[in-house]
Amino acid sequence: MPSYETIAFRAQDCDGCMKCVTACAQAKSGADDPAQSRIQILGAAGKWELALCRQCGDPKCVSNCPSAALAKDAETGVVAWDADRCVDCLLCTVGCAYAGITRDARVGHVSKCDLCDGDPACVKACDRGALTLNTAARIHRRAAEREDLFAPGLAACQGCNSELLIRHTLRHVGPNTVVATPPGCIPGMGTVGYNGRTGTKVPVFHPLLTNTASMLTGIKRYYKRVGRDDVQVLALAGDGGTSDAGFQSLSGAAERDEPMLYICVDNEGYMNTGMQASSATTYGSWTSTTPVGERLQGKSTEAKNLPVVMMTHNCSYVATAATAFLEDFYEKLDKAIEVSKTGMAYLHVFAPCPTGWRFGSDRTTDVCRLAVETNFFALWDYTPDAGLTFTRPTGRPRPVREYLAGIGKYRHLSEGQVAHIQATVERKIAHLRRFERTGA
């Protein structure tokens, strides 16, 4: 299936202002006439809907077209309409489920979105962030051009996003890299290999659970000394090896701003060894060591807020990321790689665990997205100079119960516990806002 870019719509952020419609009409006809717009916002306040071409991977408009007037561009993914070939049969409009290609008598022929050569006027006009251009396709195309440095067929659990994360990360950092992955899911899936076989095409090793940042310190400092400063050192560590037992060495490396890229893959506990609680386990979570019974109802304390802890160390760069927002992750990865040439870059990546958190393996990306959209896991980055910047809107979050509802480890929560989590989420966001730099 060819990849494609598309315009995404967040109905809850739309206020029906119609600026997108006007912008499209202007861009395509030079007038404000909404009939000339290829994007339409329909419905009423509180339930706005989008009528727009999705640039489908398997477009029914194209397969319905008897005259080859519609075609999906293999390079850009845009479904393009050719006026010279169109016989005005309207079969394309029958094929589309999104009202993405329509005929208006005032226009005189079918029309549809062409993504404005990758810079859509409607998205630029939407000042509430309800419309965004999803450019993940560019990322996948870029990644596909680079060598996959992770062995095929490694046995992560079904639905785990760590493999996705690792493959993207390794393709991006490239072969001149030394990878450390302390005990946990990532070596468990075979990254370092078993019995003399390796799972990675770059140098890779098991540190102890406790000393990832220290071992990378020694490696990097030696390469620097011998003039091979271009060797990238990379940690792919779980939350236990980062936030619990590995924290002292991480804190020391952060204090010294050691040049390294440290990625914490946070699945909120010791998921590899049977779902025990770590300091990153969130309040209320069922785990095998914070069980649910008559006397205990999951974890009774809050998670250590490690990204914030790292922000208040001497790191050159700290960011959070979630794989539902790959473009955001890539932007941060680019920054982190650059920063890690001279200082410490810490990326804290949200990694929902279908096995340990008890949700369907097809829901990982949804869980990631909901965590961000409810502000349960906010996306931001931080440098000492720029302060904290939210990289996804936090102003109009969904209620956190929408996130909690689909996850088994929260199944037992009382109304009081849900209210507690909602209050904690709001308090954490307010706390993060204090790190934003306002003004020039």
Binding site: P175, N176, T177, V178, P187, V192, G193, Y194, N195, G196, R197, T198, G199, T200, K201, V202, P203, V204, F205, H206, P207, L208, T210, N211, A213, S214, M215, L216, T217, G218, I219, K220, R221, Y222, Y223, K224, R225, V226, V231, Q248, S249, S251, G252, E255, R256
Partner: protein, 411 residues
């Protein structure tokens, strides 16, 4: 220290220093690439000396000031896997904190050198010398050599690199010197010329076998073991390889000391030293800096016609069981003086090793366990005279006391 680089000897020279400074000079002459430090009594002045030497340019090395001994050894493991010759020093609680990466170093076959400025272990809370720290980790796969004098500290630090990096060995080495007595005891020491040490140590190549280097990509330490597949045999192969390295080290330690003797004229006993043993009826067995006073006691009793000798253990791991068996075969009783205890054996660790060697020699003589010098206590020539008396009594009666003699119990 402005002209510190000029201190680097172009020719042998004589210095007067304590054992910690002697170790630091041994480090300077061995030219490690990466040094990681964290202070702890009575090691602190050693890492201060090394840090100052790096600050002054006397030693061209990367200095890592890390947040604890655990990270110190971890960073050095990383550096060694990248290709560095490394150095650090610790003792007591610091060694205990270092334990997790410490036990891993021999299995990775990293030829590191680390000084242990030996200190008694907590608790009771104590900052004084004793060998309980080093003795507690004697079975982790590190080579352990104990020094008797300031000069031997300097020389052994350098020799340790050649032993560790020998392709038949490839094991980390602890060069141990007694806290207080050697760390702060000042004596004359001869320093070899840098060029001589460079030639002696040869070209460094520490990660030919296991590297974290993008030019030679490999996985370091994949999971092994388990009940099926290639796991069990692979694990055994690694373990046996480490044991073979230890066995080879006995030969390499002897060769290295002989070569050092040819180079410098200083012939230290490599494994054990036999002192006035050939016609002896009984012997003391000693380890470390206590040996000086013990030799004085032997000399004094020899002057009085007593046929007594001494066996000093320098290399505790690998334990030189054949050499020890040969030496023990010459006497009819021994008193083994330990600066540490083996809990549960109610004796000292060197005593246990001595019993093992006696069995190897098929030489069933009475052996007295003596424990002294704990927590910085002095073991005097008077104490040793008492030990020799107990050895003679044991030889006469054919019986050794049941349980150890605690030398400083009534001091």
């Amino acid at each position: 220290m402005a002209d510190a680089a000029a201190l680097l000897p172009n020719a042998p020279k004589t210095i007067v220093c304590d054992g910690n400074e002697a170790a630091a000079w041994g480090v300077v002459l061995s030219r490690p690439d990466v040094v990681a430090v964290y202070p702890i009594t009575p090691q602190s002045s050693l890492v201060e000396y090394v840090s100052q030497f790096i600050a002054d340019g006397t030693l061209d090395a990367e200095l890592l000031n890390l947040e604890g001994e655990h990270s110190v050894l971890s960073a050095l493991q990383g550096a060694a896997l990248a290709g560095a010759r490394t150095y650090t020093a610790t003792c007591g609680p610091g060694l205990a904190f270092m334990f997790e990466p410490y036990v891993r170093t021999p299995g990775l076959r990293l030829p590191m050198v680390a000084s242990l400025v030996t200190r008694d272990m907590l608790t009771p809370q104590c900052v004084w010398g004793g060998q309980q720290d080093a003795m507690t980790v004697r079975d982790c796969g590190w080579i352990h050599m104990y020094c008797e004098t300031v000069q031997e500290v300097l020389d052994t630090t350098i020799m340790a690199y050649r032993i560790a990096e020998h392709r038949d060995v490839m094991l980390p080495v602890n060069v141990n010197h007694d806290g207080n007595y050697l760390s702060y005891g000042v004596a004359r020491a001869e320093m070899p010329a840098q060029a001589a040490v460079d030639g002696f140590l040869g070209v460094k190549d520490v990660n030919w076998h296991a590297a974290l280097d993008p030019l030679r990509p490999m996985a370091i330490d994949p999971l092994t073991g388990g009940a099926g597949g290639p796991g069990p045999s692979m694990f055994v192969r690694y373990r046996k390889g480490l044991c073979n390295g230890m066995r080879n080290a006995l030969r390499v330690i002897e060769e290295t000391h002989a070569e050092w003797g040819r180079l410098t004229g200083r012939h230290h006993a490599p494994l054990i030293e036999e002192y006035r043993l050939d016609d002896a009826e009984v012997a003391l067995v000693t380890i470390g800096s206590m040996t000086g006073a013990a030799k004085d006691a032997v000399d004094a009793l020899r002057s009085g016609g007593k046929r007594v000798g001494l066996i000093k253990v320098k290399t505790m791991r690998p334990f030189p069981v054949e050499a020890m068996a040969r030496a023990l075969s010459k006497v009819n009783a021994v008193a083994v003086v330990d600066r540490a205890v083996s809990y549960g054996w109610n004796a000292g660790p060197v005593y246990q090793e001595t019993l093992g060697a006696l069995y190897r020699a098929r030489h069933m003589i009475p052996a007295v366990s003596v424990i002294g010098g704990l927590a910085g206590a002095d073991i005097t020539d008077g104490h040793f005279a008492r030990c020799i008396g107990m050895a003679f009594a044991a030889a006469a009666s054919g019986q050794a006391p049941d349980g150890p003699v605690w030398l400083n119990e009534n001091d």
